[in-house]
Symmetry: C2
Subunit: 386 residues, 2 copies
Amino acid sequence: MDEDVVIVGGGHSKFGKRKGLGIRELAFEAVESLLKDFNMGLEDIDASVIGIAGEEFSGQGAPAAVINDEIGMAGKPTLRVESACATGTAAIKAAYGWIKAGFYDSVLVLGVEKMTSVSSARATELMARAGDVRWESPYGCTFPGYYALFASAHMKEYGTTKEMLSAVGVKAHHYGAMNPLAHLQKEVSLSEAMNAVPIAHPLNLYDCSLISDGAAAVVLTRESIAKKFTDTPIKIKGIGSGSDTMQVAQRKSLTSLQGAKDAARKAYKMAGITPNDVDVAEVHDCFTIAEIIATEDLGFFEPGQGGPAVLDQQTYIGGKIPVNVDGGLKSKGHPLGATGVSQAYELRKQLLGEAGKRQVDGATIGLSHNVGQSGQFVNVIIYGRD
Amino acid sequence: MDEDVVIVGGGHSKFGKRKGLGIRELAFEAVESLLKDFNMGLEDIDASVIGIAGEEFSGQGAPAAVINDEIGMAGKPTLRVESACATGTAAIKAAYGWIKAGFYDSVLVLGVEKMTSVSSARATELMARAGDVRWESPYGCTFPGYYALFASAHMKEYGTTKEMLSAVGVKAHHYGAMNPLAHLQKEVSLSEAMNAVPIAHPLNLYDCSLISDGAAAVVLTRESIAKKFTDTPIKIKGIGSGSDTMQVAQRKSLTSLQGAKDAARKAYKMAGITPNDVDVAEVHDCFTIAEIIATEDLGFFEPGQGGPAVLDQQTYIGGKIPVNVDGGLKSKGHPLGATGVSQAYELRKQLLGEAGKRQVDGATIGLSHNVGQSGQFVNVIIYGRD
């Protein structure tokens, strides 16, 4: 199958603490939103790939089939894909492969996570199991801990400051406040961000992404049949992935993610573009330091310049490269399996010029950067509108 | 990428109660076995797809990266795929898509499960979570329960007898006794099989597959570079998948799996063959009734004739279609994520003429049938040697 693969529809639930809604209802809400925006029905979709990171949040084993049935696709092939917090983009990549292999013409990719069914402490513990449960997590390495290490190393090596970290959170909340789908829709001042309750030094509450419930969906199809669905398909121009050692202790560097650099290089090459060609980016700001490192790993800024760039508003709309202008994981929220699909949803809206107050004018190329664990799963996907 | 995808290597751990070995060690054992049988090293493999069904057995979240690192692939992209008990073939299908998409030339597919870290009762409970945890499992539907329903329905509709069910177990143990990788290597008489302790009427102990630890691995690559790895590549000629309603209560029939019939039809069509062309089959005998239904769903026998066929030894070597001559899930064992990959391993050995005492003479086409949940995930893969 030598055609391009395109996105022809998107759907998104409200992200947040969605009391009373489980993975079934969240998935249904995303698909309901998809169908409103869609010429066709589910009968025109051949199969589904479901991204869910954790089973323990919902208690449902092998959850893909439950969701596939709930959204009205019973009897059509389905699959669960999991790559920790990079699950959503891994699902897109798997669906892309299925279409390229000729198995299906059209595939629904749905990412979903229900996280607030457990306490925040329990959620943090469950997420810590995605660290190395033999050699690291039993000794206290939670994810705030890993990223606190990265932040400290970045501060030492490049002079990155607490103010720069906090500026990432301020930007996230600035745009999240304009996004009706975001978990927290409120502005935060730099002073509030800098003086919040400590979580893992030097990270505080406003450096950490949210524990959220939510779902997002996109439909992938072959370019030659895209017109059946829409006049404005969005092309998947490049996909690259990277990984790293399981133990963070074995890494050569704590100030960048080798997997992200590898993934970006491959995605740029496949798309035939350079970082300067990207008009809008969604990056994995699970912690504020992660966004700074991401903008460096992706080649938007030189190593060490990611912090000054955000202080200088170079990652705002109107700056060099607008980043996470939907609020990001920090303010829009981070329902693990949904995040990478939500990035695709947002970039499609941006490339269609449908992002409203948060629109990046004339955007034709968008980049999604999605990281699982502490860099062991990284996918970079480049979307384009002709 | 219009070339065929081929298997160029296989590895397999011993299946069984592998005390003291976790998912890391089991995976390592399978890869060690792979490398003994392989011209090349892991440096010639670009990425991995890891199949693991359950996290709760091992306690390791997002386990793909841990395994990828442990087997010596740190830094190369990896992914976890999950489709309950059809996880292994789902991983092969995902890797096939990755290669067809042009992401990688060569991909390691590794399926693994550690199950005996918990009691059999706890394992049965954890597996029951793959049933519908809202509408069915809380009311007592464990997997022996589901398949007992299927068996009762098959007995009523077709006159299938307890003796026919037991004959499937007798055959499994007959061949398992010759397989040094099998969990239980012992013959069982028909009288022993018929009079074993009841599990869920009409199924008894010898109707149920084993709770096992184990891992299996295969390497997939593009046909044009296969000669780098081996002179005898095995071609993936067809892959088909099917699904069904989540609730068994909503099925139209309890005597066949619609998803298996759909998957078989697609796989045969893609391979350009009919059931009569298959020389040797690996089917998902999670329970003895499942093998009887499988041989009917796959078109080897007419509906209702699967039971008489096994009594008549038509599924033995020398019969119409040898089925599970490695012992199957019943005697070789069923480490969930490993099973579909183990089927690929065994069929490759058969097509290479390397199956020893269990060899099906002159086999050139092999079929793998792998079922997740109670038919919500079904993959049928057809392998061939030119």
